[in-house]
Every structure is written in structure tokens, then in C-alpha cells.
């Protein structure tokens, strides 16, 4: 078939499902092309991997309770460390924040019946389970052990088969994320209901749009780097082999050109979740809508020019060290703008302490710490001291655990009623929050000191002088591990027997709350017409909570 003959993708046919309002449970296990099903598939799969990655973390922390390598074998430690990092990034945060929330919410928020390319969407999701399986299968061959960064030459000489599995797995996830990004961009640009002005687009959609653009630019570079690595390992090429005129630093550039932006890929959707949760639960319009939307785009743009700050102690000439110090510091400004805007959103609000709001506030306070330590790392002379130490581990867990995990939890507590039609239990939610909050600080705060004092990262055995602080971290990790229990119980129990939620339990103003909970197939009987902004709380003294909000949809 020539190019011209390829038929244009038909929009999903409405009549075919007109008689059917909801999916049966088993349809969640099929190649379903409904964006809501796919969103939930992403979320559940991601949570499953989160638990596996978490178990690896617990094993590592148990090992680190003593200075010697006496719990697991050092190679196994490295395999756990590598796969923990890989899973948390590629199979937990990215799939849940972008794939899960993005898929479920973007069409609902822009008033579309589905994503622009529903089949592509399903394919993007179904690349994830095999990717995860490949990653876990790598343990049969010793497990990839070179860290989630997999720098050659180490990654070329240690456990080559496992490393190849690792590469293939990441390439699958990367492909999934490229396919997903195209879908999000087209959906947002083309399928927004005409009545929605651009400045009425929910901030979550702005965030996903920015994220997708970034993913589209940077992911192929990672894929390129990894494919070259695969060739080096298996087919005798020598792109990165120093003894055959290869260059080990080249890989680092290719890797970080993707993987630094990947940090924003992880955090921007979470920022989007924050911008939805905080206004609703504090009954306030978001402060500085434009500033938040534009700062997402600014972070993306500048974020493409900061990657070398991961390589300050590697093969980087002075001009590079300085250029990237400056660009790294600049990213702090748009990030700061977002934080300040959320704090200002709280001002004059009527804050309700729901579990969703608690996690959002927790994120805010943790991200302040992670962000501030990030600024210190941007500065070369200081980064040189702490690079590749526990100071880094502390920093990125504040950003990733505090910044992302808290955000994902906030999102789940917030949108669970919409996704399932049932409320989550607030008491369990609060226990979950308190345990998570205490556990996170206990685990990760002391690590700053470890790094400053001289403990390198990625070690199974360390200088005994660091033992007491490490034990504190290990206790914290156990608290975190326990914190997952009330959450899991809550989700399962509430899904089956939770209180019925109704269409709009939080009385929120974005479009997803104008349809049923859970939304019917095709989302609306008649597409909604936008009559007010997404965050018009308190505008014209309108809409006290007790009354029904003026309908966003005029059907």
C-alpha cells in the first residue's frame, strides 16, 4: 500500500457503544482502547512495579544497616540498586504520572471523547508489561549491575546478557513514551472543545503538553545512546570502548541529554496534579495561572541545556562546567515561581484537610528542600565535593519521592472517586500520609550529612563511622515500607465497598467532574460547553459549596 492509500484513522464510532455505559471488570485486562481503561491499566501496573522497586529498596537498606556486606552479595546489591532506580523512574513515575493520569484526565479535561489515536494509545501501554518482564528476567542472568545510568565500560563488561535485557527494556519504555507523547500533543491541540479558550485549559494539560514536547525531543537521543551500547556489548562495535578508540564520555552526554530532561518529565506532570488539587481543596482560584503555564514551558526549554551538571567531575572542560552551572541555576527561577504560586494559592482559602490535600502540602514542603539542595548542586565547586555521594541520593529522593510519589498519591486520593465512583477512606488516608511523611524525612534527611562527610553512593559496604546514621535511614525505610499497607488496603477496600462518590464530590470546576463517576464510555452523552474557567472559585461570590455548582456543561 502506498502512502497515499493509507486510510485516515476513523474516529471511534459512537453508536457501537451507545448502549453500553461501563466496562466490565475483565475488560481492564484486554487490549481496550478507551483512554480511561488505559489510564487505569497504567496506574495499576505502575503501582505493582512500585511495590517491587520498593522491596528492592528495603533489601538495600537492610544491607546498609551494617557497614559490611553481610545481607546480600555485593553484585546482587548492585543489581537491586540498578533495577530499583530503573523501575522507579521508567516503570513507576513516568507510567503513572504521564501514562496513568495523563491518559485518564487529558481527554476528560479538554472535553474529548477519547485520545486522538486510541489504538496507538493502547499499544503504548502494552509495551510496558513486556518491558517490565524483560527487566525482571535480567535477574536470571545476574541482573544489570551498572546503575540506572549504565555507564560504559562497566556496563559493557559486567553481566552482558542482563545488560542487554536492560537496554531492550528501556528502549521499549522509551518507544512507549514517544508514542504517548505524540498522542497527548495531538489530543490537546486538536480535540479541545471549541468553547474552551486556551487560557481555560487546565494546568494539568499544560503540564502534560510541555512534558510530551520534551519527551519527543529527548527520548530518541537516549534510545540512540542505548542502541550504540547494545552494539558495543553484542556486535563488536567500539563506540564507547576506550581501548579501541571509543569514548566513554560520549555515552554520558547522550545519556544525560535525555535523562536530565527525564527529571522534568517526571516532575512536570506532578506539578500539573498539584495545580489541580490545591485550588479544589482550598476553594481558591489558582494564583498566577499564566505564570504556572509558562513556567512549565520555560522549564522544558532550559531543561534541555543543563545535562552536563551530571558530569561535572567527568570529562568536562572548564567552559562547559561554567555554562552548565549558569543554566542549571536558571532553572531554579521558573521552579520557584511555581512553588510561590501554590503557596499564594493557599492564601485566603478555605482549606479542607482531605488526604489529597495533605499529600499536596507534603509535596510542597518536601520539594522546597529538594529544590534548595538542587541549587547547591548546580554550582560546580561544591558539586565536585558531593557528586556521586549520599548527598545526591538525599537530594533526588527528596525531589523524586517527595516531589513525585507524594504528588501521585495526592492525585490518586483526588481522582479515585472519579475513576471508580467511590470515595476512599479518609482515616486510612491520613494514617498513610503521616507514616509516609515521617518515613520520608527519617530515611532521606540524614543522607545529606552522610554524603557531606564522605560516604559515596552505590556501595554495599562502607566506612564503619557512618553506621549510626545509616541505621536511622534504614528504620525510616521500614516505616515507608509499612506506609504502603494502609494505602493498598484502602484502595482495594474502597474500590469494592467504598461510599458512593457522586459526580462531583469535591465540587471541582474542571470538565472531568461534569460527567458521571466513573465516566461513561465516550465520556459524555453530549459534549460539554465551557461556561467558566477551571479555577473560578469564589468568582462573583458565586457557588457556595452547599449548592449545586452552576453546570459546566449545558447539555
Amino acid at each position: 500500500m502506498t502512502q497515499a492509500q493509507i486510510p485516515v484513522q476513523n474516529p471511534p464510532v459512537i453508536e457501537s457503544s451507545a448502549h453500553k455505559k461501563a466496562w466490565k471488570w475483565y475488560e481492564y485486562f484486554t487490549f481496550n482502547i478507551d483512554h480511561k481503561v488505559i489510564g487505569i491499566q497504567y496506574l495499576v501496573t505502575a503501582f505493582f512495579f512500585y511495590l517491587i522497586g520498593g522491596l528492592m529498596a528495603v533489601a538495600m537498606r537492610t544491607e546498609l544497616a551494617t557497614a559490611d556486606s553481610d545481607f546480600i552479595d555485593p553484585s546482587l546489591y548492585n543489581a537491586f540498586m540498578t533495577n530499583h532506580g530503573t523501575i522507579m523512574i521508567f516503570l513507576w513515575i513516568v507510567p503513572s504520572a504521564i501514562g496513568g493520569f495523563g491518559n485518564f484526565l487529558v481527554p476528560l479535561m479538554v472535553g474529548a471523547r477519547d485520545m486522538a489515536f486510541p489504538r496507538l494509545n493502547a499499544i503504548a501501554f502494552w509495551l510496558n508489561p513486556p518491558a517490565g518482564a524483560l527487566l525482571l528476567a535480567s535477574f536470571l542472568f545476574g541482573g544489570a549491575q551498572a546503575g540506572w545510568t549504565s555507564y560504559p565500560p562497566l556496563s559493557e563488561i559486567t553481566a552482558p546478557t542482563a545488560q542487554s535485557f536492560w537496554i531492550l527494556s528501556i528502549v521499549l519504555v522509551g518507544t512507549s513514551s514517544i508514542l504517548g507523547s505524540i498522542n497527548f500533543i495531538v489530543t490537546t491541540l486538536k480535540m479541545k472543545v471549541p468553547s474552551m479558550r486556551w487560557d481555560q485549559l487546565p494546568l494539568f494539560c499544560w503540564a502534560i503538553l510541555a512534558t510530551s514536547l520534551l519527551a519527543l525531543v529527548s527520548t530518541p537521543v537516549l534510545a540512540a545512546g542505548l542502541v550504540l551500547l547494545l552494539f558495543d556489548i553484542n556486535f563488536g562495535t567500539s563506540f564507547f570502548k576506550p581501548d579501541a578508540n571509543g569514548n566513554v564520555v560520549l555515552y554520558q552526554h547522550l545519556f544525560w541529554f535525555y535523562s536530565h530532561p527525564a527529571v522534568y518529565l517526571m516532575i512536570l506532570p506532578i506539578f500539573g496534579i498539584m495545580s489541580e488539587v490545591i485550588p479544589v481543596h482550598s476553594r481558591k482560584s489558582i494564583f498566577g495561572y499564566k505564570a504556572i503555564a509558562y513556567s512549565s514551558l520555560a522549564i522544558c526549554l532550559v531543561g534541555l541545556f543543563v545535562w552536563v551538571h551530571h558530569m561535572f567531575t567527568s570529562g568536562t572542560p572548564p567552559w562547559m562546567r561554567l555554562f552548565f552551572t549558569i543554566s542549571t541555576l536558571i532553572v531554579a527561577v521558573p521552579t520557584g515561581i511555581k512553588i510561590f504560586s501554590w503557596v499564594a494559592t493557599l492564601w485566603g482559602g478555605k482549606i479542607r484537610y482531605t488526604s489529597a490535600m495533605l499529600f499536596a502540602l507534603g509535596l510542597l514542603s518536601m520539594f522546597v528542600i529538594g529544590g534548595l539542595s538542587g541549587v547547591t548542586l548546580g554550582v560546580v565547586p561544591f558539586d565536585v565535593h558531593v557528586h556521586d555521594t549520599y548527598y545526591i541520593v538525599a537530594h533526588f529522593h527528596y525531589v523524586l519521592f517527595g516531589g513525585s510519589v507524594f504528588g501521585i498519591y495526592a492525585g490518586i486520593y483526588h481522582w479515585f472517586p472519579k475513576m471508580t465512583g467511590r470515595m476512599m477512606n479518609e482515616t486510612l488516608g491520613k494514617i498513610h500520609f503521616v507514616l509516609t511523611f515521617i518515613g520520608t524525612h527519617l530515611t532521606f534527611l540524614p543522607m545529606h550529612q552522610l554524603g557531606l562527610q564522605g560516604m559515596p553512593r552505590r556501595v554495599a559496604m562502607y566506612d564503619p563511622q557512618f553506621e549510626p546514621i545509616n541505621q536511622l535511614c534504614t528504620i525510616g525505610a521500614y516505616v515507608l515500607a509499612i506506609s504502603v499497607i494502609p494505602f493498598t488496603v484502602n484502595v482495594i477496600w474502597s474500590w469494592i465497598a467504598g461510599e458512593k462518590a457522586g459526580d462531583n464530590p469535591w465540587k471541582a470546576m474542571t470538565l472531568e467532574w461534569t460527567t458521571e463517576s466513573p465516566p461513561i464510555i465516550e465520556n459524555w452523552e453530549i459534549l460539554p460547553v465551557v461556561t467558566h474557567g477551571p479555577y473560578d472559585y469564589g468568582l462573583n461570590g458565586r457557588s457556595p459549596m452547599s449548592e449545586e455548582r452552576p453546570p459546566a456543561s449545558v447539555s
Binding site: 556486606s69 555485593p74 549491575q145 551498572a146 546503575g147 555507564y151 565500560p153 576506550p242 581501548d243 569514548n247 566513554v248 482550598s282 476553594r283 481558591k284 498566577g288 495561572y289 567527568s314 570529562g315 572542560p317 572548564p318 562546567r321 561554567l322 552551572t325 541555576l329 536558571i330 531554579a332 520557584g336 512553588i339 510561590f340 499564594a344 493557599l346 492564601w347 485566603g348 478555605k350 482549606i351 479542607r352 502540602l361 522546597v368 534548595l372 541549587v375 547547591t376 554550582v379 565547586p381 561544591f382 565536585v384 565535593h385 557528586h387 556521586d388 562527610q453 564522605g454 559515596p456 552505590r458 554495599a460 566506612d463 472559585y537 469564589g538 468568582l539 458565586r542 457557588s543 457556595p544
Partner: protein, 346 residues
């Protein structure tokens, strides 16, 4: 934010926050001993950043905490909060203040970087224009400027050339990474040591004295130059008390120039994941007084003249490392053969 935040309360809060931050910045005690001339520079930078960060932390967390308490929903109140879309002057202020802070930090860090000698190594390609005359650093210089070292690892130096790049013609063209001497320095360091990282040990060779050790010995107050490379995978030479770190890259050259300011024994750590026993790749740097250092040199020269291998094994301080690593000897790959390679002119 509708009133001007110039009330007495704000003023007092401002003063308290400032005082607390200054105190934290001066008394945090988070960093280990300072043992190099670079260390105080890095520490001051860190302390200032910590002070600023602490102030911002107090302001932002304080605001969150106050808002969270003050604006909680009164029981039974189902109305919305006040409608507020933004506040342009306020947004300008909170964009400008962080921008000024990061610009300030940026400038300050460039200055620290320059004083640490960060600009020197990149000029490695000009090495041939500075013949490696063996000049001791000028007497009478204040200690700060005495970090005198050539701009490049001496390519004519047999050990460094053979270890890093057998093709010494090419060596001239390779950039050299790391922290070096101040740009104006043209002199050779007092002590040059070639450092090779390999799974899972550091080897220190003293090309001027024909010594190889598993620990770094240096004299206090003298300029030291480490020419760093790696044998197998990437390692990273970290001297926490010196606040210096540089990756040892196979196939690339890097260097560190510094002056130790205090005698004693301090850890050397491998900071880059280099395999299963990465965590055990630890050794020590021993900073001697110049006399002790001479003595150490003489003793070890005699010992190593007899047998290279025995000398290494007989070094008692080395014992702990090798003992620790004996079970993993296969993975280590240190053997007489390789040591000879490192020392073709022995």
C-alpha cells in the same frame, strides 16, 4: 498580601530569620576537616548557600505553615475563598529575588572555581609550549599562590605517557580534565604522582622516584599534582577532606592540583560505581611533614628496588587493603605483569 507586608511583625520575622540563617551558615558543622587550600573556598561557598537556603526554607515553609493554619476551613463553612487571580508586582518580586540570588551565586561560584584552579587543565593542548623544566615553585610566594604546577601532565614523563596513552603524539592533543593550578602558574608541581584506578584499588606511582604504592603519601605545604587515569572502567578519585574529586576515565587524562595544609591520615574513596566491590575501593592519603616525606621516600625506594611485588605486599599500611581484597583477587587483576606494564622503565 493585600496589605503591604511592611508591618512590624514582618520586620521582626525578617530579622529573626536573617539571624538564624547567619548562625546556621556559620555553625552547621556538616563538613569534615579542611585539609587542602581549596577546601576553605568550597566550604565558604557551601556555608553561604546553606545560609540562603535556610532563610528561603524558613520563609517558604513558614508561609505554608501559617497559611495552612490561618486559612483552614471553619467548621460548617461551605463557601469559597476569596477570588484572586494574581498579583503582578508580587510575581515580579518573587521572580526577581531568586533570579538575583542565582546570578549572585553564579558569579561567586565562578570566582571560587577560578581560585581553586579550575581553569588550568583545559589548556593542556598548549603543553608543548612550556618545556617541562623542572623548576621548584618560587620561594616567597604566599601559600595561596604556591599551587604551582605545569598546565599539563608532563607528556615527556615516561610513566604518565605509557600509562595514559602509548601514543604520546596524541597525548598533546587530548584535553585534560580536572582542577589545576591557577592560570598564571607555569611551574612544575613539587610532587607529581600518577594515579591509576583499577578494580578495586588505586595505584600511586611516583615517576621521579620510581615508587609504586597503594596509598598516597604527600608532603604538607607543597604543591601536588595527580595525573589520573583508569585501567579498566571509570573510577572516581575522591578526597573528601580536600573537597576534591575527579573521575578516572579510561582513555582520557585528568589531573588534580592541590596543596595539603595539614598533616594526618585521610580517606581516599572511589566515588564512581566500578563493579561489585566498588564500596571496598578505599585507601588513604597520608600527609607528611616534608622531612617525614623524604624519609618515607628513601625507605620505600630501597625496599622497592629489591622487588616491586614484595615492596607492595610488605607495605604494612597497604596490608589492610590487600587483605580485604584477597578473596577477590581474580576480579582485581593486579599482578606482576600489570605492574611491569605500568613501569616499563623500572
Amino acid at each position: 498580601m493585600s496589605q503591604v507586608p511592611a508591618s512590624l511583625l514582618t520586620l521582626i520575622a525578617g530579622i529573626v530569620i536573617t539571624l538564624l540563617s547567619v548562625w546556621v551558615s556559620l555553625n552547621h558543622g556538616l563538613l569534615p576537616e579542611q585539609v587542602s587550600e581549596q577546601a576553605p573556598l568550597v566550604d565558604n561557598l557551601f556555608s553561604i548557600m546553606l545560609g540562603i537556603a535556610f532563610a528561603l526554607f524558613l520563609v517558604v515553609q513558614g508561609a505554608i505553615l501559617i497559611f495552612v493554619i490561618k486559612y483552614r476551613r471553619p467548621p460548617g463553612d461551605d463557601t469559597d475563598g476569596v477570588f484572586l487571580e494574581g498579583n503582578f508586582p508580587l510575581e515580579i518580586v518573587w521572580t526577581a529575588i531568586p533570579a538575583l540570588i542565582v546570578i549572585g551565586l553564579g558569579i561567586y561560584s565562578v570566582d571560587v572555581y577560578q581560585r581553586m584552579g579550575g581553569f588550568a587543565p583545559s589548556t593542556g593542548m598548549m603543553a608543548h609550549s612550556h618545556p617541562s623544566a623542572h623548576v621548584a615553585h618560587q620561594p616567597g610566594h604566599p601559600p595561596g599562590s604556591a599551587i604551582a604546577a605545569p598546565l599539563v601532565a608532563d607528556a615527556a614523563d615516561p610513566a604518565s605517557a605509557s600509562v595514559m596513552d602509548p601514543d604520546s603524539e596524541k597525548a598533546y592533543k587530548l584535553p585534560i580534565y580536572g582542577f589545576g593550578a591557577p592560570p598564571e602558574a607555569k611551574n612544575k608541581a613539587d610532587v607529581t604522582v600518577n594515579v591509576v584506578g583499577l578494580q578495586y584499588a588505586w595505584l600511586f606511582t611516583y615517576p621521579d622516584d620510581g615508587l609504586t604504592t597503594g596509598e598516597l603519601h604527600i608532603p604538607v605545604g607543597k604543591s601536588v599534582q595527580l595525573n589520573i587515569t583508569a585501567q579498566d572502567v571509570i573510577h572516581s578519585l575522591w578526597l573528601p577532606q580536600f573537597r576534591l574529586k575527579q573521575d578516572a576515565l579510561p582513555g582520557e587524562k585528568s589531573q588534580l592540583n592541590f596543596v595539603a595544609t595539614k598533616t594526618g591520615t585521610y580517606p581516599i574513596v572511589c566515588a564512581e560505581l566500578c563493579g561489585s566491590y566498588h564500596g571496598s575501593m578505599r585507601t588513604q592519603v597520608i600527609v607528611h611533614t616534608p622531612e617525614d616525606y623524604q624519609q618515607w621516600l628513601e625507605e620505600n625506594k630501597v625496599a622497592q628496588a629489591n622487588s616491586l611485588n614484595q615492596a607492595i605486599a610488605a607495605n604494612p599500611a597497604e596490608m589492610s587493603v590487600s587483605e580485604f581484597l584477597t578473596p577477590y583477587g581474580e576480579e582485581m587483576g593486579i599482578n606482576a605483569e600489570m605492574l611491569k606494564q605500568l613501569h616499563p622503565h623500572q
